[in-house]
């Protein structure tokens, strides 16, 4: 059982802040750390034969300090009628324990000071302190005595300190009075002490009424499981008018016998407290890891859902794109087709066509006075508008869907989940994002067209035989059909060379157009599917940067599954070691 590893893991774990159960969870986690730090890690350093630690605890003004002084047989802690007078715990310990108590593992987080005067215990200050009083009395060597501050006053820190001391102790001398013995805080303290396996010595101070003692005994025994009742002592100390350290009475022997001189039982007491602490820690660890796992699963689900929504929107956009026509692609396959030009023939035709085109363009421009763009431009613009509207729509849909995800979170996280929704972007931001996307998409398109063209050019450069073969095939088709049709129309044989040539050329041109377009169409489909995929990926980029990451950034981290697995493992190990 690696306590240090467990401590590191616990330090890394943390709950989502602000949930309904946040305070409770944080307290539980802090308790795990304290149980581990204060008791288990300390005991691991302390060794087997050390004396048990006995803590004197109770509410304000019940006489804890008095009882402590009686136990120490020395006036160490000043008692006062003022409530919460003792501010700091005092430890009364034999010098042989110096090494263990000087260790950093002894009450980590506390400033350790040597107790010189009793007044030191009631001086208030920030932080946490513990005062140690060394002694060399062999008759008091059997136990380490600790005086705890009260557990029920308005002083919050006192309760923290009292809890730490309870964790540290092996046995508790619990001091109560007729007024306080059934206070809930006191009873809760006793219950917790018994749960961690501490030996309980319950003192009913300032009373000798048998009725009250019996009631107190009943309260205590109800708390303790049957098998441990033999280890619990309950007895009364009558009202002592002058409760100095020398006050005498038969109760003093009882007190001393039960609390200050455990004799051979000391080791058993320590063993039981240690085992109890282990079981308690194991239980708390299981609770903590269960809750953390719950949170983690919610967060994981949200992440997965957000990703799913993004993917859904991307897919919708891809489907939309495939219903569009992309005139940009013409540019690619026109250039590719260009590669299969038959030299001379197509050059001549191309030259003629170019000249004719220029003339006809000039004429058309003059004739129609075309102020509007040509059909392709209009269609491209219309397509762009549709594209923009769709991008905006899908973008907003994705955003609102992701923003609604935390609504589905139930349980304690429901309270903080709305805070994970990123603030909605302003309209200008949305429009700007969409415009930027379209601009980037256009740039990408240009690059893509260039790349595709270059890739094809490279390909044909790398495979000149293929290009030549295709060209020959195409030429054979065109020219062959031209010649055949010239014959068939009778041009070459009867009608004279001019008619033959005209009909042959017409056929050749017609077949060229068919062949080119067929190749172009087939290629267009492949290109389009590539192109839409690339563009949809770009859209995903938009969603990821503008929708997904603002959401993910606001989601809390959650705890690491590795740590949780180790914590669970540790809980099992602690249970094994803590079994009685």
């Amino acid at each position: 059982m690696d306590l240090e590893q467990l401590a590191r893991d616990l330090a890394e774990l943390g709950f989502v802040p602000g949930t309904e159960t946040a305070t409770q969870d944080a307290r539980r986690l802090a308790r795990c750390r304290r149980l581990l730090d204060v008791k288990l890690r300390f005991e691991a350093r302390r060794g087997k034969n050390a004396s048990p630690i006995v803590a004197v605890a109770g509410g304000t003004n019940v006489g804890k300090s008095t009882v402590f002084n009686w136990l120490a047989q020395e006036s160490i802690s000043r008692s006062s009628p003022l409530a919460r007078f003792t501010k700091w715990p005092a430890v009364y310990v034999h010098e042989s324990e110096r090494n263990a108590l000087a260790d950093a593992s002894f009450l980590p987080g506390y400033q350790k000071l040597v107790l010189e005067r009793g007044e030191q215990l009631s001086q208030d200050d920030d932080g946490l302190r513990v005062f140690v009083k060394w002694h060399a009395r062999d008759d008091a060597k059997a136990v380490v005595l600790v005086d705890s501050p009260d557990i029920d006053s308005t002083h919050e820190r006192n309760r923290t300190v009292a809890q730490d001391l309870l964790d540290l102790a092996d046995a508790v001398v619990f001091v109560a009075t007729p007024e306080k013995y059934n206070d809930e805080i006191c009873v809760e303290y006793l219950r917790e002490a018994s749960r961690i396996g501490k030996r309980l010595i319950c003192v009913l101070n300032k009373s000798s009424e048998p009725e009250v003692l019996a009631d107190f005994e009943k309260v205590v025994t109800d708390l303790v499981p049957k098998e441990h009742r033999a280890l619990v002592r309950v007895f009364a100390i009558p009202y002592v008018p002058q409760p100095g350290p020398d006050a005498q009475g038969p109760w003093r022997d009882v007190l001393r016998r039960e609390a200050a001189a455990p004799g051979q039982a000391g080791e058993a007491v320590r063993d039981r407290a240690l085992k109890g602490t282990r079981r308690r820690l194991a239980r708390e660890l299981r609770e903590v890891s269960g809750r953390l796992r719950e949170e983690l699963s919610v967060l994981d689900r949200l992440r997965a859902d957000a990703d799913a929504k993004i993917a859904q929107s991307t897919e919708a956009y891809r489907a939309f794109l495939s219903s569009l026509d992309f005139y940009e692609l013409d540019r690619v396959y026109e250039r590719i087709i260009d590669h299969f030009k038959i030299p001379v023939l197509d050059d001549v035709y191309g030259g003629v066509r170019k000249a004719a085109g220029a003339v006809s363009d000039a004429v058309a421009r003059t004739v129609t006075g075309r102020q509007e763009e040509d059909a392709r431009t209009i269609k491209m613009r219309e397509r762009r508008e549709r594209d923009r509207a769709k991008v905006k729509e899908l973008f907003e849909v994705a955003r609102s869907q992701v923003a609604k995800l935390p609504e589905s979170v139930g349980g304690p996280l429901a309270k903080v989940a709305p805070g994970w929704v990123p603030p909605p972007p302003t309209l200008d931001q949305v429009n700007g994002d969409v415009d930027r996307f379209l601009q980037r998409a256009d740039e990408d398109t240009d690059r893509w067209v260039d790349e595709q063209t270059r890739a094809h050019v490279q390909f044909f450069k790398a495979h000149p035989y293929l290009k030549a073969g295709l060209r020959v095939m195409k030429g054979t088709f065109q020219i062959g059909f031209g010649i055949v049709s010239a014959y068939l129309t009778g041009g070459l044989l009867h009608g004279g060379p001019i008619e033959g040539a005209v009909s042959g050329l017409l056929t050749e041109r017609a077949i060229k157009i068919v062949v080119d377009n067929m190749g172009g169409f087939m290629h267009y489909q492949t290109l389009k599917s590539d192109y839409t995929r690339a563009r949809a990926e770009l859209f995903r980029w938009l969603l990821e940067t503008q929708v997904r990451s603002p959401f993910m950034d606001r989601l809390p981290e959650g705890s690491g599954p590795d740590q949780l697995a180790r914590v669970d493992e540790a809980a099992r190990a602690l249970d094994r070691e803590g079994a009685e």
């Binding site: 059934n182 129609t368 075309r370 549709r386 909605p424 302003t426």
Partner: protein, 622 residues
């Protein structure tokens, strides 16, 4: 015997404080709370505000009831003993084991009765007495709040709700308990507190302890707490010591009818003031500015949507080449005169050759409507619906951004609510409306632009047709001049020969007409394209307007209403706040400076001014 406690004059001489204005404030607060659901902090605090309101109403209802004094304290501090001592009889059970008391014990005058306990009467042991000094008070012994008997706590909480004055019993051993202070802080504003340090006889250094308690109380904003140190057990045994006499005096004399009502009224006012303050704190003060931001954001979203939808609808029309051809045909054939005949001939030929023109030739208004309907059907209604929905969400987003609780603005607290479920119907209605409207307007546009062409006939068309006419005229003139010339030179036969050339003249005229028209043709086409562009521009405006009108009427007017509703709520609160201030300050004028006054009536729980203390001491010792 006693120096009467000086009281500042309050309300009427008979102690009847006018509380009508306060009551109306309470009613309005209730109405406001029920209606306003648009302020997030208010929603967060709603539960506690409603609780506060309920308490206020209870206080209001209990104005005329006797003063209810509750004995409050941890287990074993001697609450029951104190009641027994006050009653001078063992009316509440006292025992050494803890906790003893598990029920309420009510000690009241038989004339006053215990009815003011309300539902708690069933949980209480009722003891009637005939001591007139305690006539208007109802003393209640409550169970503890810190023992393991948790049900005691609930009973105590319920008892505290109907308590006016709490005697907090503490002991030297149990006076800074965590749970006690948690409870005191919770009830600090609604209940007056007087502290009783019981078992004072068993304490060492009593003054130090009392001072410590006072310090702790002051640290928690209890101003000048009044602490009476005494011993109930001693008092019961007849040995009055400590401040016992002060307690008796407090209960028997200091708290007379007028004082009681004052305490109650001022506590009620305190509560109402606290309630109004809480309301005020829950509603941000800059609501108008936030609302304006919301309105602006929302309007921007709306116009963005209108523009986008206009684009979608119009884009469906603009890219339609059939429509273009239709327009071209209409404009082309509408040119009258000599050139018009040429254009009609040209477009007639195109109409035969090109299918779009064929249809255009026979187009009627109804068909045009259908044509546009067809085009608009290409606009995906589901997509329009999503956009409209997104704009509504945007409305909510903007509201949230401006710091409002929107779900309820749009829902219950708002107007009739934006019925999301009704949207699809509205959207198809929207598409239909846009279609009808734009078809109608489209035809108008045709008529208008056509009319412009026709109107041009009077002056412009004459010039327009001048060239072909001039060519024809010149040909006729040349021919006629030739005949005249031949006739004048008396070559009548020659003149006949010239007439015989008439068919050639006709041919030449036609050819020159065609040539003239061909020269004019490009210019005419340019005009036609211009008119097409012009009519598309007009149409764009028409569609945008139609979209806006339809959207506004069909769905989107509601958020505007919701905005107005929020503004109205805020104004209501503003008025309420002012009225409340007036009502509360007119009734207890110095209430704002509570800390400064010397012996305010509601400050029963505070130490009386220094001068009175010695006189009491004298009485006690006497």
């Amino acid at each position: 015997m006693n120096v009467p406690v000086a009281k500042p004059p309050l309300g009427g001489a008979d102690g009847a404080i006018p509380i009508g204005a306060v009551v109306s404030v309470i009613d309005r607060v209730e109405k406001f709370l029920a209606g306003a659901r648009c302020f997030p902090k208010l929603e967060e605090d709603r539960a506690s505000l409603e609780l506060l309101l309920a308490q206020v109403k209870q206080k209001q209802a209990s104005l005329e009831t006797p003063l209810r004094v509750l004995l409050l304290g941890g287990t074993g501090v001697g609450k029951s003993s104190l009641l027994n001592a006050l009653a001078g009889a063992d009316i509440a059970r006292v025992a050494a084991t803890r906790p003893t008391t598990r029920e309420l014990t009510a000690y009241f005058h038989k004339d006053t009765g215990s009815a003011s306990l309300g539902a708690l009467e069933a949980n209480a042991k009722l003891i009637a007495h005939e001591r007139d000094a305690l006539k208007d008070k109802l003393l209640v012994d409550a169970p503890d709040f810190d023992s393991t008997a948790r049900e005691n706590r609930e009973l105590l909480e319920r008892a505290l709700e109907s308590t006016d004055l709490a005697l907090v019993v503490v002991t030297p051993e149990k006076y800074v308990a965590h749970e006690l202070f948690a409870m005191l802080e919770k009830w600090r504003d609604s209940v007056a507190f007087v502290f009783v340090m019981n078992k004072a006889d068993r304490a060492q250094e009593l003054p130090t302890i009392v001072a410590d308690l006072k310090r702790e109380l002051e640290r928690r904003r209890f101003k000048d707490p009044r602490v009476l140190a005494l011993s109930a057990a001693e008092a019961r045994a007849g040995r009055t010591a400590g401040d016992w006499q002060s307690l008796v005096e407090l209960l028997e004399r200091e708290l007379d009818r007028v004082r009681i009502r004052e305490i109650k009224a001022s506590k009620l006012q305190d509560r109402v003031r606290a309630l109004v303050d809480r309301l005020e704190a829950a509603v941000p003060g800059d609501v108008p500015a936030r609302l304006e931001a919301w309105r602006l954001g929302w309007r921007a979203a709306l116009s963005d949507l209108t523009a986008d939808l206009g684009h979608s609808f119009f884009g469906a029309l603009r890219s339609d080449f059939e429509l273009r051809n239709v327009l071209g045909y209409l404009f082309g054939t509408s040119m009258g005169g000599a050139f018009g005949a040429f254009m009609t001939a040209v477009y007639g030929v195109r109409a035969i050759l090109q299918p779009g023109f064929t249809r255009a030739r026979r187009l009627t208004a109804r068909e045009l409507d259908e044509l546009i309907g067809d085009r608009l059907r290409a606009v995906d209604p589901a997509s329009v619906e999503r956009r409209v929905q997104l704009v509504l969400e945007r409305f909510e987003d903007e509201g949230r951004r401006a710091g409002f609780h929107v779900v309820d603005t749009v829902g219950a607290g708002g107007t009739a609510g934006l019925e999301r479920a009704g949207l699809p119907a509205s959207v198809s209605a929207l598409v239909a409306a846009v279609r009808t409207e734009s078809a109608r307007r489209f035809y108008d546009v045709f008529e208008e632009t056509l009319g412009a062409g026709k109107i041009g006939a009077s002056s412009g068309r004459l010039a327009w047709n001048a060239l072909p006419l001039a060519v024809v005229g010149f040909a006729i003139y040349a021919f006629a001049a030739k005949i005249v010339h031949e006739l004048s030179s008396a070559h009548a036969f020659d003149a006949m020969l010239v007439v015989g050339q008439a068919p050639h003249l006709l041919q030449a005229t036609l050819v020159s007409w065609v040539i003239a028209c061909t020269i004019q043709w490009p210019l005419a086409e340019r005009t036609i394209q211009k008119r097409i562009a012009q009519s598309f521009d007009l149409l764009e405006g028409v569609v945008a307007r139609a979209v806006q009108e339809c959207l506004g009427a069909a769905v989107l007017a509601r958020p505007e209403k919701a905005l107005e509703e929020v503004a109205a709520r805020f104004q209501e609160l503003d008025r309420l706040r002012k009225d409340a201030r007036r009502a509360l300050s007119s009734e207890t004028a110095p209430s704002r400076e509570r800390g400064v006054r010397e012996a305010p009536p509601q400050d029963l729980g505070r130490e009386p001014a220094g001068t009175k203390r010695p006189s009491r001491r004298v009485v006690t010792e006497g």
